[in-house]
Symmetry: C2
Subunit: 207 residues, 2 copies
């Protein structure tokens, strides 16, 4: 129990004595109440921002996974033997991208209840540390998916002369656009999760 929680009930004798035993009794309850109000409001604001950012990150991750997963283009001409088709599962990196973004989106969805807990119980440090650590792992996964996807997309757009890898975007323009959009979505999700980590760190501060 914190000193600002019982400042309103400081006149009830047994609450006072319990607080004294914990060694945190406020002997100036009025001053403590004045100081406690902005602290609590600030923490609650952080927790609500946390929830909003979390929902946005989930939307961005789902959009990125969906855009990549539905990227598929068939060229309108074909030879006797095969048709020219590009799909995300031609490239292992893009498969990893879809799986990673799906995992991140699921995690963020599952973390929403925990985020609500931090809104309701705004002084609980346990859920916040858990969220901070899991958010960092999710950030790593999102960044890995986005960066590896970006490396391949760059190659698809520009090719590489030294290694003789040709740009495929000249043929598969629509495919490349969709894939690039997915990569942008994953970077938006990464930035939002980075904000989440920063918010958790701020909220953990002992004020």
């Amino acid at each position: 129990m914190r000193s600002d929680d019982h400042s309103a009930t400081i006149d009830v004798p047994h609450v006072e004595s319990k607080a004294v035993i914990k060694g945190k009794a406020s002997l100036l309850p009025a001053a403590a109440a004045v100081a406690a109000r902005p602290v609590g409001g600030w923490k609650k604001g952080v927790a609500i921002f946390d929830f909003v950012f979390r929902v946005s990150a989930m939307v961005a991750a789902v959009a990125a996974a969906a855009a990549m997963g539905t990227s598929d283009q068939t060229l309108p001409f074909f030879t006797q033997f095969f048709q020219f088709e590009a799909s995300y599962d031609d490239l292992p990196t893009f498969q990893f991208f879809v799986i990673a973004m799906a995992i991140v989106a699921s995690y963020v969805l599952l973390s929403l209840p925990l985020s609500i807990v931090t809104i309701v119980r705004r002084f609980a440090a346990g859920p916040r540390i858990l969220l901070l650590f899991l958010d960092t792992v999710a950030l790593t996964l999102t960044t890995a998916a986005g960066a590896s996807g970006a490396a391949i997309v760059y190659l698809a757009h520009n090719g590489n002369q030294s290694t003789n890898w040709l740009a495929i975007c000249q043929q598969f323009g629509d495919f490349c656009q969709k894939v690039s959009g997915a990569v942008v979505g994953s970077f938006i999700a990464a930035v939002l999760i980075l904000f989440l980590v920063a918010l958790s760190a701020m909220a953990l501060r002992r004020v």
Copy 2:
């Protein structure tokens, strides 16, 4: 000032009254002193681990940047017009890798003094939150470098039939080995920085 800091001087009147004004006076100084000792030791241990992990991460980042930066292979045969040579600066992703790992290594080096501050002043929340946030950004950069490098290294090793990108590692075996080593180094650095973030989160806990 925390309640356990002035528990030894609780009998000096003006210190007592100053603490009372701040609303955190411990009325059971002996109990507070007993409780404070293990907490402090635990926090100091975390801070020392933080320093050790930080030095290891710096070594890993420097090794990754150096391995990538010195990767260069010239094949022992050549045509009339050009010699076959592979170097990290043939691929923009590998250039980004070197720059990113150099930035991470510099940041970790510059963060060492701040880490020492957290060993000495183990209850200071400010330096820890700053370190936590900057570590998260460094983690993102390391992961991005490692993941994009891994995507290109995978392509160099295995090629891709759908896009007609051929595996270059059959010709440039030594180059590929060195580049793969650099990517592994960056992942080791990323794991160490992830540990740093977890340690900072644990240390921020209000005990």
